[in-house]
Subunit: 202 residues, 2 copies
């Protein structure tokens, strides 16, 4: 199976190759691609080897062909349905973010438990009550939930999401979610990011 770090780099390859196409560059060696991304040449070859032989030895890569191949591997064209739970400051900023739609993520529904928010439009989405969450996730075939609720509410909601068959959760609450392996969880802990960053500037 493919390491998570390799998958993360694939998106960087995809962006770099798009940048090269905009510059009108048709062909590139693994060495130059590595230079552009500031990673080692051997890393480029190792990453791409997971996906079959993509370049010709000594002739480098065809930029358009490599970009399209990576787009297929990443499923750039695929649309994945997403919902956002907790339409506070972070949830509503994420709802407004065009970068998700550009990668094929379509926000299909947003939820909150605050009575003054439910039934109103936030960032163009009608805010739905938490009681309707399970029904709407099934109806809209939603695979990914973005969790932007307070830390003390996150676990209980995550268990409900698991029960209604959600496939993955992008969790912003600073708590570890305890769920079965059936649900993929990715935690984004912004407080940890800034704390780690500051640790190294002693």
């Amino acid at each position: 199976s493919i390491p998570k770090k390799t998958v993360q780099r694939l998106l960087l390859y995809y962006r770099s190759l798009n940048f090269l196409l905009q510059q009108g560059i048709k062909n590139i060696s693994s060495k130059s691609l590595a230079g552009l991304m500031e990673i080692r040449d051997s890393q480029v070859r190792k990453d791409l080897s997971y996906f079959g032989h993509l370049g010709k030895r000594g002739a480098g890569y065809d930029v358009l062909e490599l970009r399209d191949k990576i787009a297929r591997i990443l499923g750039i064209e695929q649309v994945k349905n997403v919902c956002i739970i907790g339409m506070g400051s972070l949830g509503s900023a994420l709802a407004a973010y065009k970068g998700f739609a550009a990668l094929g993520f379509k926000v299909r529904a947003v939820f909150d438990n605050a009575s003054h928010k439910v039934g109103r439009k936030i960032r163009g989405y009608e805010c739905r009550p938490m009681e309707a969450m399970e029904k709407i996730i099934r109806q809209e075939d939603i695979e990914i939930a973005v969790l932007t609720v307070p830390a003390d509410a996150a676990q209980e909601i995550a268990v409900r999401l698991e029960k209604c068959g959600i496939k993955a959760i992008l969790n912003f609450a600073p708590v570890k979610l305890s769920l079965s392996r059936r649900v993929k969880v990715s935690n984004v802990d912004l407080a940890m990011e800034i704390k780690t960053l500051s640790f190294f500037i002693k």
Copy 2:
């Protein structure tokens, strides 16, 4: 030097130990601490070995003593001055986030180049013009800049930040910043997070 992954886990130890203190637990073995955090027992011992011998063999760790030791290592008490550049949806959500202040990060100034934002209060902070950025960073002794501007504006601002002596940048724009090693950069790429997450739910 200490691996970044270990530093990130330190914050998780800090949170877990606080949780134990709230539950009134005074002592814990590395095995139970590992269980609480869902990591291997050997990882706990390895992480804590970077910081000297913290527990007594066979007697486990004193929860309060370990928490305070980790707080000192992380510099939880230290206040670090932060500024936010780009007060759009994400920047203003981050400005409002109480989780940063709880870890000693104080937002000292916020900046934007939109004339209808400059001079007005956003989330309680007076939005300052970009022309004043260098002066205010020096005046307020700001060490960390949070960059929440569009991708095409990020590099130019990052170079200005480097020139005025910023120590670290938490970058949310989906571009790689080219700076000297003097500035520590941490990239949070939310589009990459969700794309990587969805890759594994094929």
